[in-house]
Symmetry: C2
């Protein structure tokens, strides 16, 4: 042994924040202002929490769950539980009771921390959760004292009170489990991804790179992405390692609250799904002089691809760089990020050419490998046109699901992502679709994502989703569902005409349905599974199939456009 | 196993540059212009090199040495040798023949790559190097064909010609050795530090962080620090991972050549020891309009502490941030870096306060742990005043010297660095001295580094060194040796008066000796060992000890200043 074999334990990275920047604040929005504590405070409280959990006989590898908003206590748990060697299991607060029951039992969580306002969701299923020994409830500052029917529920602050504020984190194998996130698939039960100390340590280092998010200790970071969503994309851990100021919205997730928080706390970098930024844009357009965003420099956007029109709007209006990222829970989650300029050859690009970069899912993170392959796993050309399934491998990519291996999702050491994409000659990943959302029409593929990004760029369209509907001749045909901006007048014909500007006639949706809202998944993406189920439930039929003979607007298949 | 256990092999990081930025250039200065090749070219040539070495029966763990300037071939060897599983041993071209002979034999190098102009240095000792089976000579473009008496020497280009330009890098244990650097101690033989794939992989990721050097794929990086000096501080590997443009000076290391290269290649970040930047400053002051440095954004400076006056000059004149780093060969080498703003609390500092940051050795790199301790290894307060020996640990810190363990340099899993420092309340490391360079006077310590930094800030002083000289009553007293700027008139009394502005009377050097030049070490630091030896050889005696009775300017010890 010539170099120290220091195990890659997350405690070593997380302790650094309080060490170099004990005075830096962690700020959480509350109903009566903000809760503020320093990294020094947080470190003491995390130590007390670990001492308390040890007192409850929580051991190495035991699962400790959270059912919580983003907030200072959630961050304390984020630090304490893995640092002591237990496993942080972040429960998605938007899951249905059946899924929650399955997940908590599957993970065999021993302790669950729950925000008081969310406790009723768990009270309904608490009797069916035999593994849970302790419920710890987090009351909200300024709120009435909480009451809960959760058995023997204890108060977070009372729990911490009894324990000392120093701890020596134990040393153990870096491949020990650190955190558990479940991801909802299209079929079957949710599947768990068990991060290890090694995988999260490396992911945290990668997140701190200039060419990823340019995160710095001098940043003030706002994670709007929930801490139960792929560990908030790694932002809390990276910010803690760097000693950056952190701001958390707790349950106050409306655009006005978020924008006020960005302004009042001088947030420099924020991260959330595209719909968050679309809502923010709508408010900023409605009240253009109300928010001073001059400190906000970067906005991370993932979960699904942000429309280029949105990226452009934030840049042109505020010089805010919207950083598009691609990844998934199975990748901890960082896979690729796209920056305006992260290649030497791009220094001289004009603004328009830099937007082309921002419209792609991005360049591969250092440490990972990526390929696009056909159905026999043969690599496809990197020409920007060939579309194949994305496979990835590397030290923060999962190798199996937790106690539910799912070997069909893995191939020869690679994760089969379920995303379909091109890689261009510059090695940017360009996501075409989730493989299950592609529309297969007349033997050709139509990307629902491409259509959505194009439709949402039409003035007056606020949201757009494209789903496949069955067709006896072409197999499937695309149908668009749109939500209009308040007061906008956009017709079906307008949308279809707009599509013909860029797409071949056979790629244009057969139908455009205007809706008041679109269903979202628990992680804020448009829920296409729910959309498809809704159309089926209402007995939706494609226009052509209900058309009288002689209807002039019958769809053309690829053959007829050739 | 829930996450992939991808071994941390440097090949995986280095391949990324050519993958994402095949067109980006590696530019090397030559006597007849520049040699230019792309990352794509370099990857093909590195593959051919590995295939060639395999053909020479170089196996996992075999040592392959370089005796070379910074240049494109050296970078190819940097990539190929570790990626194939062999060990890159970078020989310091400025070592004396005895040390070179010792090191090559101690490492048992099987192949040595040598730049043609440096071959004569090795020819003299080649007969005493039984382990070396192959000499590969690198001719210089535009030069006469090389001739060498090295036995069976082969030409680098001819060697590469015969081999294919693709390779599949092998997979092996991440704790396998990667590279070997010898460091010259004060006593005994040079000692080898054997980096592993794991240690260098983690170091390379750390180097790419915003808060370290803000390195990006969009950078153009110039390593003036030699590639035989702690692997050029990690710059070549980090730049290759990021796909950044790289510029290398080869043997053309004069300030005018370096500045011309910075201008002509639009270098954005450069790294070198303080004397390089002091020489550059002198030239820039002499010819203020000759060089347009508008693209140069950051300058890394390590090896020894740059004077604050130099840091200030580059910032005030050009808005170039001189990033001070502290580390050592034993740390791969990154330990701390200091940036103008890398803490949230420092966003609002004024320029003057930010200079105070730049004058410190910096904040601990994520992943490492650091402490200052007394002689019994008890931690000392972090108050900016308590001075103790710096100890470090972490995954890129060495745990023993190569085949020469030196247990006294390690304590309970920590490396004992030999540097003496304070840590202030903001957790900045402030190096006081090498422990062997401290001046012990009347039971108190005087920092030679503090005195030097203060003296060199005096107008007209170009270089300063302070060394201890024996004194019968005070044990040791400081003596300053200075080099004046061309044409400057600075007297001994001026220097001593300047010291009294900041230092107590007993800390002021007893003597100031004006010299034409100061000896430098093989890595460009002022060679205090040589200075002390020189004073001893010339029979130097402190003024007081040669003074006649009644001399009014006798030094005061700490007792008399109390």
């Amino acid at each position: 042994m010539t170099m120290q074999r220091t195990p890659l334990l997350i405690s070593r990275l997380l302790d650094r924040g309080a060490w170099i920047a004990p005075e830096t604040e962690i700020v959480t929005l509350t109903s009566c202002g903000t809760h503020r504590q320093t990294y020094a405070d947080a470190a003491g409280r995390a130590a007390a929490l670990a001492n308390g959990l040890r007192d409850l006989r929580i051991e190495m590898g035991d699962r400790v769950a959270t059912f919580m908003w983003n907030g200072w206590r959630h961050l304390e748990i984020y630090q304490a539980v893995p640092s002591m060697g237990a496993v942080l299991h972040t429960l998605n607060i938007r899951l249905a009771a059946d899924d929650l029951r399955y997940i908590i039992n599957h993970a065999a969580d021993r302790v669950v921390f729950v925000d008081a306002d969310l406790a009723p969701l768990l009270e309904r299923i608490a009797d069916d959760l035999p593994s849970v020994e302790h419920w710890v409830v987090c009351g909200e500052p300024g709120a009435e004292p909480w009451r809960s029917s959760l058995p023997n529920a204890i108060d977070y602050e009372s729990f911490l009170d009894g324990f000392g504020k120093t701890v020596a984190w134990p040393e153990f194998d870096e491949n020990a489990p650190l955190g558990l996130c479940y991801t909802s698939g299209t079929t079957g039960h949710p599947k768990g991804v068990m991060y290890t100390h090694r995988s999260t340590y490396l992911h945290t280092m990668c997140m701190a790179m200039t060419d990823v998010m340019t995160l710095s200790g001098a940043d003030c970071a706002l994670a709007i992405v929930p801490m139960f969503h792929a560990m908030a994309w790694g932002l809390p851990y990276t910010a803690m390692m760097l000693g950056a100021k952190q701001v958390m919205p707790h349950r106050f997730m409306t655009p006005d609250k978020l924008l006020e928080l960005i302004v009042s706390e001088s947030v420099t970098v924020a991260a959330g799904v595209p719909t968050v930024w679309q809502d923010a844009r709508a408010l900023l357009e409605a009240e253009p002089d109300r928010y001073d965003l001059s400190n906000l420099d970067r906005v991370g956007c993932g979960g699904s691809a942000p429309p280029l029109s949105l990226i452009r709007w934030f840049w042109e209006r505020y010089r805010i760089e919207m950083i598009q990222g691609w990844g998934m829970t199975e990748m901890n989650p960082l896979g690729t990020v796209s920056r305006r300029v992260s290649k030497y050859a791009h220094r001289e690009l004009d603004e328009e050419e830099q937007f082309a970069n921002l419209g792609k899912a991005g360049l591969l993170s250092p440490g990972l490998e990526m390929e696009i392959v056909d159905e026999e796993f043969r690599p496809l050309p990197h020409d920007g046109r060939s579309i194949g399934e994305v496979i990835v491998r590397g030290p923060w990519v999962c190798s199996e699901y937790y106690r539910d291996p799912q070997p069909d999702r893995f191939h020869d050491g690679w994760l089969v992502t379920g995303d379909v994409a091109a890689i261009d000659e510059e090695r940017y990943l360009i996501i075409a679709d989730r493989s299950k959302d592609l529309v297969k029409s007349g033997g050709e593929w139509i990307s629902s994502v491409d259509l959505e990004n194009h439709i949402v760029a039409l003035e007056g369209v606020a949201l757009a989703a494209v789903v496949a509907q069955p067709h006896p001749r072409w197999d499937e045909r695309p149908v668009a569902l749109v939500v209009l901006a308040p007061g906008a007048k956009v017709s079906e014909a307008d949308v279809r005409r707009h599509c013909t500007v860029r797409f071949a006639r056979w790629q244009v949706p057969d139908d455009v349905l205007v809706r008041d809202a679109l269903p979202l998944t628990t992680t804020g993406k448009i829920d296409k599974k729910a959309l498809r189920a809704g159309l089926a439930a209402e007995g939706y039929v494609l226009p052509e199939l209900r058309a009288v003979p002689g209807e002039p607007d019958a769809p053309a298949g690829p053959a007829s456009s050739a």
